[in-house]
């Protein structure tokens, strides 16, 4: 093991597979050697770059040699970019090996100072310290892959499944620059190595499954999805079953995850691409979205609305008819949402000409679903902008079909009156009961005038069977009645819950004496 410094704890490593020791001298430039010697020099430089330097715990170490490596890498990038026929067979294993040595490393754990999980939406990523070298290695490898002299048939001996697996593991890096390079690199590999495609897809699926169902943590989902987008775009028709399963079992469940905002645009693109390829997938996709529809996370709801509009933009009218009822029931809920961004986004659908034409073709089914939500909120919503948008939506409905609109209005009013009548009836029933109770001669005896809300003392006599049965019947009726009727607005009264006290805690607290009590003051204060 050759070190550049006498201290033993330097982390300079000599690559175990390189032939020959590390040359502590800067090698010559390509332009200074004869073309016949260039291949040998190339290999030497590649091997030299297999030495790793420490950028993290001691950034100022070996500055000279770090610069040598950087210069070598830079020179090699130029060399293969501007020269033809320099990528010969012996070069391939060296390049792949150099890349592997530099790149394939265990990623450090999340460096969040509080020890909490890295939140991709909030936290600043930790950048890779060795980036000055890593960047050049990535760039070099990419040029290598993209060179017109590159032959996948030769390279496939070295770029194999193990290589790809390790490459995919790097996608969890926190450094976005690294992920960007990885994305492009994997994209090229996928394009050129047909034999690796199925393996890559399988491994990506595994990453996604682990992300969705086990960890909910991975930094590279967006990049992976971007690659998949370009793959999906290239699918041949008819779609293979494997791809359809991928959509239903992987892409759709990705909507569930909490950190959706990090990769949503890429995910939505993938989904829409699928639907453009095969429109028969529309119904399962829309139903899955509705199933995963966020119930408490409003920013996520806005994202779903964005995606849904994009899907509707490309939907076939025949597919639209299949999903319109559950879809508009969900839209009706969104329009009534007290969160103004959700309501606005949902109402903005009415500005989409294609969606409006779909609605007008199916107005008889859709209008009765949307109308109550719109009409009810036209005055009661707290946000004024929403009023304006609701008016636009109602106006468009009115223009579509006057009679249908009038029918919906009448029905709405009729139902409202029915509700009012019912609640009035219930109110009167209560009053009647109260009056009946008051007319009982024992009323004044039983009532405690000082505190009407205190619990009544239990009777020591056992209640009769008939009483119990009557009580049971009343309770059952009352319970079902409540389910059917709508609840009247009643001010909510909070009740504090009584928690049982732990005897040890109570004892400990009692016996605790504060330090100040035990210490005596010396100043006589």
């Amino acid at each position: 093991m050759l070190t550049c410094n006498k201290t033993a704890d330097r982390m300079v490593v000599d690559a175990p597979n390189s032939n020959g020791p590390f040359q502590p001298v800067a090698l010559m430039h390509f332009r200074d050697v004869a073309p016949a010697e260039q291949e040998k020099l190339f290999i030497q430089k590649l091997r030299q770059c297999c030495v790793l330097f420490d950028f993290l715990s001691d950034p100022l170490s070996d500055l000279k040699w770090k610069e040598v490596k950087r210069a070598a890498l830079s020179e090699m990038v130029e060399y293969i970019t501007h020269n033809r026929n320099v990528i010969t067979e012996p070069i391939y294993p060296e390049v792949v090996h150099m890349f592997a040595v530099n790149m394939f490393r265990t990623l450090p754990p999340s460096s969040n100072p509080t020890g909490a999980e890295f939140d991709p939406e909030e936290d600043e990523p930790t950048l890779e310290a060795a980036w000055p070298h890593l960047q050049l290695v990535y760039e070099f490898f990419l040029r290598f892959l993209e060179s017109p002299d590159f032959q996948p048939n030769v390279a496939k001996k070295y770029i194999d499944q193990k290589f790809v697996m390790q490459l995919l593991d790097l996608f969890d890096s926190e450094d976005p620059r690294e992920r960007d390079f990885l994305k492009t690199t994997l994209h090229r590999i996928y394009g050129k190595f047909l034999g690796l495609r199925a393996y890559i897809r399988k491994h990506i699926n595994n990453i996604f499954y682990r992300f969705i169902y086990e960890t909910e943590h991975h930094n590279g989902i967006a990049e992976l999805l971007e690659i998949l987008g370009s793959i999906i775009n290239g699918f041949a028709l008819p779609l293979k079953e494997e791809h359809k399963i991928f959509l239903l079992k992987v892409l759709l469940p990705l909507h569930k995850v909490k950190s959706l905002s990090v990769y949503h645009p890429q995910l939505a693109y993938c989904v829409v691409q699928f639907l453009e390829k095969d429109s028969t997938l529309t119904e399962p996709v829309v139903m899955a979205l509705l199933k995963y529809w966020p119930k408490t996370h409003s920013p996520k709801e806005v994202m779903f609305l964005n995606e849904l509009e994009e899907i509707l933009d490309v939907i076939e009218p025949s597919e639209f008819v299949k999903v319109q009822e559950p879809l508009f029931r969900q839209l009706a809920k969104c329009v009534s949402s007290p969160h103004f961004q959700v309501a606005e986004r949902a109402l903005y659908y009415w500005n989409n000409e294609y969606i409006m034409s779909l609605i007008s073709d199916n107005a008889a089914k859709i209008l009765p679903i949307m109308f109550p939500a719109l009409y009810r909120n036209s005055k009661t919503h707290w946000n004024k902008t929403i009023h304006g948008l609701i008016y636009n939506a109602l106006k468009l409905f009115m223009e579509m079909n006057q009679k249908l609109f009038d029918d919906c209005t009448q029905q709405f009013r009729a139902e409202k009156n029915k509700e009012k009548a019912k609640s009035k009836e219930r109110e009167e029933a209560w009053v009647r009961i109260e009056n009946l109770a008051k007319s009982n001669p024992q009323f004044l005896v039983c009532v405690d005038s000082s505190d009407l809300n205190s619990p009544v003392a239990m009777e020591t006599d056992v209640p009769s069977i008939e009483d119990v049965q009557r009580l049971r019947k009343t309770v059952e009726e009352g319970a079902t009645q409540l389910q059917r009727d709508q609840r009247k607005e009643r001010p909510l009264v909070r009740r504090k819950s009584e928690l049982p006290q732990d005897i040890h805690t109570t004892k400990a607290l009692d016996s605790h004496r504060r330090g100040e009590d035990m210490l005596t003051t010396h100043d006589g204060l």
Partner: protein, 336 residues
Amino acid sequence: MKDLQSVDSLLLKELKLCCAKESSFLPRDSGLRILEAAPAENHNAVSAKCRDANVEELWGLTSFFGYSAQTFVQAVNMLDRFLTIMKVQPKHLPCIGVCCLHMAAKMVEEEHVLSPTRELIRISHSKFTVSDLGRMEKIISEKLGSPEPQAVTALTFLHLYRSAFEALTAGREELPSIGTLEAQLKACTCRLVFSKAKPSVLALSLLAQELNALQSTTAMKAVQQLQKHLKISEGELLHWREQVGRCMAQYYSGECTKPDNKKLVWIVSRRTAQNLQANRFCVPGLPTIPEGNWDESESEDSCEDMSCEEDSLCGSPGSDGGGAYFPSTFRSTCRE
């Protein structure tokens, strides 16, 4: 055939009284003819089409603010009367319309239902101000004679007729609900042609058309009785019944027109606007990778057997990077 009861004398007296008053609330005939004659795309004079469009707007606002049909009918009555006595420029029509609606609402609706004028203006995307509205109100009430009592309109007669019918048929006939009749009247009101009819005749025509569909001879006899009481000529009734029939045919046709949302203004909050902008689409940076039909194997087991598959793929295009996968333009940009 059941015998008809006689109409309650008080009701009859009221009907006759309304008949007497109704002519004073009719829009001027000459003005109506001018409106009808005006070409549709004129910028100097209000045309029938223009008026109809405006009335539909008013109906939209009535519905949105939860005003009653009476408010709407009163507003249109005021609008028609004003338009037939004043020469108005089309650009002022929205202001006049909203003003009439507001005035009608003040007359008819309860205090708590009324919306403030700025709300009316904001919702209807109108370009005029609250003070403009105030001035217009003064002008209108001046021209129509103030304080303006509630006009006798077709709606008034509809309510009266319906009560009369119930009395006449002694509740044995199924009458169309008042809601349905109001909706039909509203549809008619949206067309200028019906402003020429006397309200009593229009209301009876509407009712007659509706009852005709029910095929009840008792009901038709009741219509005849009312016609006799109010001295409505057969010819007049037939004429308007025909007009109503045509209007209703279109109303009930159930065909949906594609709405034109270019006239509407969509105001959203800043955050939503930003969100919409951001989504105007992230074009992916990676080029498409076409899937060949002959490439990778179907099942996953043959992943291990890749070597034997690949020999057959040796001759595939694109393996040397010069094939169909990457467009040449893309390759050249990467050379730097």
